[in-house]
Amino acid sequence: MEPSAEKLMWMYETMLLIREYEETMANVYLEGKLPPNIQKGLAFDIGSGPVPGEMHLAAGQEPVAVGVCAHLRKEDTVVGTHRPHHFAIAKGVPVDAMTAEMFGKATGLGHGKGGHMHLFDPEHKFSCSGIVGASLPPACGAALAAKKMGKDWVAVAFFGEGAANQGTFHEALNLAALWSLPAIFVCEDNKYAISVEKSESTAIHSDADRAAAYGIPGVAVAKNDALEVYEAAGEAVARARKGGGPTLIEVKTDRYMGHFQGDAEVYRPKGEVGELRKNDPIPSLGKHLRARGILDDGKDAAIREKVHGLVQKSYEFARQSAYPEPREALQHVFV
């Protein structure tokens, strides 16, 4: 199923936006964390700078987010992972409020209470969690709610290949299959569960095979390619909307950065990322668009300028925003 020109352009632009967002964050994150501005003897201080705490970036994994979210409506629910920016951006979460959240500012999605692993945007029906494997049960709940309300909405849970070894994965797949829920479970296999290679953690090569255990379709997308993800997700979303139940999709994707920023990546061979980047999914989609005659140098430059402007504006918004008053820490335990 070939996407429309409009969808293709959205996918391309969104991938560029995600990539620039993550690359910008990689630099901003380092601000204030390196000598000589930190405690003597340290090489890096995770708690310093304008964006403190852990940071997990998704450069390279853009096809998973856009290939799936291209099929979603505002009413559909997405639950992401500890590496959530690409999903959030593809689901339409405002980039400025998302960035402000990572800066811990009052204008952030959660008034600075969540940070980068805990982004909540009920308006765009996006949430995520810092706990591996935690995205699947709430996605079942959102799908169950849609069914109960008689809507044709779907819910997507994204998770990594490491999470496929969690009990929640199996519990949620069984529940979704049993109740024929409109849920799509999308596994991002980026080969590494932090540092442990999939071959060292998982008894089988493809997590899509696990779908058979629950009697649901399992689709393996072997290439880190937005169009291939788009095709697999299209069938799954259409099936779910029609009441055909859940689907498990596994995408072999590539993580270009560390598990977290500051990760020395001792577990992967030198030069691996360079090799992976030769198959960068963004230029390959760009090539496809040009072949379809919907992208040329002028349009490409215009898109990149637009994306650059949006990213710059978002980071500027976050920097300029005020911190919450310390006492606001006591609010929002209950509504």
Binding site: T77, V79, G108, L109, G110, H111, G112, K113, G114, H118, F120, D121, P122, S127, S129, I131, A134, L136, P137, P138, A139, C140, G141, A142, A143, L144, A145, A146, K148, M149, A155, G167, T168, E171, A172, N174, L175, L178, Q331, H332, V333, F334, V335
Partner: protein
Amino acid sequence: MTTARKLTMAQAISEAIGQEMERDPKVFAMGEDIARYGGIFGATGGLLERFGKERIMDTPISESAFIGAATGAAAEGMRPIAELMFVDFFGVCMDQIYNHLAKNTYMSGGKVRLPVVLMTAIGGGYNDAAQHSQCLYGLFAHVPGLKIVVPSNAYDAKGLMIQAIRDDNPVMYFFHKGIMGLPWMAYYEGSSNEVPQEAYTVPFGQARIAREGKDVTIVALSQMVQKALLAAAELEKEGIGTEVVDLRTLVPLDVEAVVRSVKKTGRLLVADEDYLNFGLTGEIAALIAERLDQISLKSPIRRLGVPGVPIPYSRPLEQFIIPQVKSIADACRGMMRGKVAQPA
């Protein structure tokens, strides 16, 4: 006109859920054995027949999945009630409770509303041993973001359940097996009482003075309230006036009711079936200790709870470590003889 009848706590809870399901189509219940069986402890008895399996849902033994699903459904505007059969089973699904259900509202800056009622059975006294007899509400009260409801009788159980279902926040609702009025387990008869047919609410954070007295305050909740009332009746024969404060909810906690009573009596016993260490009894004692500029004690504070041991199986062992009517009465008698040190 109200029409009250005597109900067991299980009947009262089930009636509350049924009335709210009639009132609000967004309310539904799910859990293990809650549909055809009616709940192992009867909290959903008779509801399947009235509401059907779309709204009274048996689940697989997958607590992480269905409690997480309750969170997800609530975020979409539904009002799920999930039953965790025994609180002791929280270990298999704690992440979905304390990291997600309890925290998502806060981490979203108050944007995400999670009207979930998570109800569960607690308590020992019937020799079910260490993995099926705990109370553990103190553990959940320790985690911010969960309202903690622990009724002691059928009237409160109904009103608190309706209040819980209407609350826009996660509520954990703990029912003690030994006050549910089950036909297959001995129970304290004081827990079955007159319950109006009509729907009504009991607000959270309002303790109930279950019995007035001038000499000793016993702070308790759940089944321990029934034990405290029996102890108080004995003590009355000896001329000791006992005031029993039923907390009803731990979060929010009615601090004022406790303070008011201890100001009056000058003596505080906290009687609890949860573990003694680092829990409810210490919390209540600390509330009073922090206010000794306003409160004059006639005797040191006493605490009864399960000492730092798992609940043993054998009857004499179990009965020994769980506070009983006699140990409550003995503690009160001791406090009547007690003295507090005077400043040098």
